[in-house]
Amino acid sequence: MSENHSQPSFSPASASTLDSESARYFTFFNVILALIAMTFIELVMIVLPFHKYVLLAMLLILSLIKFVLVIWYFMHLRWDRLLLTALFIAGLIIGTGTAVALYFLFPEGDGAPGAEVSLVERPTI
């Protein structure tokens, strides 16, 4: 009896919960296998003889797929209400949009050896 008082006691979960969670259990393993496979492909891409921009595009697509798999399955967005997806996507769009806009706002450096260009000292247009 004393052991029951010192340990948390949970009532048995409903049959529907057990069924849905058991189904998710196998989904989680499939997702992690896909994530590991895609990470392996990203590493193999280092030695692939393709053009830099092709590899970059592949890298971004793989990262995007991995990102979506985690938020959709591990973070339960697939089973949660649409409002949560909309809320997160809104933040994601603002964050990504700002990052992409800033990236293309600044010109590519000339790569002069031994020179680090400061953004502050750069002449404004």
């Binding site: 008082h5 010192s6 340990q7 948390p8 949970f10 009532s11 979960a13 409903s14 529907s16 919960t17 849905s20 969670e21 998710r24 259990y25 989680f28 992690i32 994530l35 590991i36 990470t39 990203e42 590493l43 891409m45 280092i46 590899l55 890298l59 990262s63 990102f67 985690v70 938020i71 399955y73 591990f74 973070m75 339960h76 089973w79 949660d80 209400r81 409002l83 949560l84 809320l87 997160f88 933040g91 994601l92 603002i94 964050g95 990504t96 700002t98 990052a99 990236y103 600044f106 010109p107 590519e108 450096g109 050896p113 031994g114 020179a115 680090e116 260009v117 400061s118 953004l119 750069r122």
Partner: protein
């Protein structure tokens, strides 16, 4: 709750005994998703700052010498770290699943697994930083190059997020032995899980955009 009303709710919602809200979403979960959305913007600025400086300064200059970053990075160690963090996401998902099934023992085991994987990732990052700073020929510090500044701020901020997550998980692990640990806490553990998975997805972006891209 009537049978008809209960039938319309998902198993998660019927088991959590949360007070009803206008959105139908527990407030804690909604607050965490709002925080994660704002954290997207936070990491967005850090990642874009790193990429912009890499674009403007294609050469990494340390103490007057141009250094190929691939001579500093250890892609094998970083790949192993990535694998470890992905595995921690799996164990975290299984923890939440076990909590929904009211299986405390399994939840505790998976929680411990997540803590171990998270700690291994953090240990690998500390090891990586130490070797970058004490590199024999090209030491990379926070202040000796622009690349060092943006790299350490970005990956260090992520590391701090991981550390906070580990401390949060440890507190759950200890609390899970308390008789005060109830079924209602399944939602709280799920919210912790959301944070942990977010830390994982941020690394999913950092790994290719900061590390792998340097090898093309």
């Amino acid at each position: 709750m009537s049978e008809a009303t209960a039938a319309n709710l998902s198993p998660d919602e019927t088991d959590h005994h949360e007070a009803p809200t206008n959105t139908g979403i527990p407030n804690k979960k909604l607050a965490m998703w709002a925080f994660l959305a704002s954290d997207c913007m936070f990491f967005g600025t850090l990642i874009s700052t790193h990429l912009i400086y890499r674009r403007v300064n294609p050469d990494i200059v340390i103490d007057g010498n141009t250094v190929p970053v691939t001579q500093i990075f250890d892609i094998h160690l970083t790949s192993a770290s990535t694998f470890i963090l992905l595995m921690s996401s799996l164990t975290m998902a299984l923890t939440v699943s076990a909590m929904h099934k009211h299986n405390v023992k399994a939840a505790r085991t998976f929680l411990l697994g997540t803590i171990v994987f998270g700690s291994l990732f953090l240990g690998a990052q500390a090891y990586e930083f130490y070797h970058f700073v004490h590199h024999a020929t090209h030491p990379l510090t926070l202040t000796n190059s622009i690349f060092g500044s943006t790299f350490y701020v970005l990956t260090g901020t992520h590391g701090v997020h991981v550390l906070i997550g580990i401390l949060w998980l440890i507190s759950w692990y200890i609390f899970s032995f308390s008789p005060k640990f109830k079924e209602e806490h399944a939602l709280d553990v799920e919210v912790t899980g959301l944070y942990w998975h977010f830390v994982d997805i941020v690394w999913i972006l950092i790994f290719p955009l900061v590390y792998i891209i340097e090898y093309f």
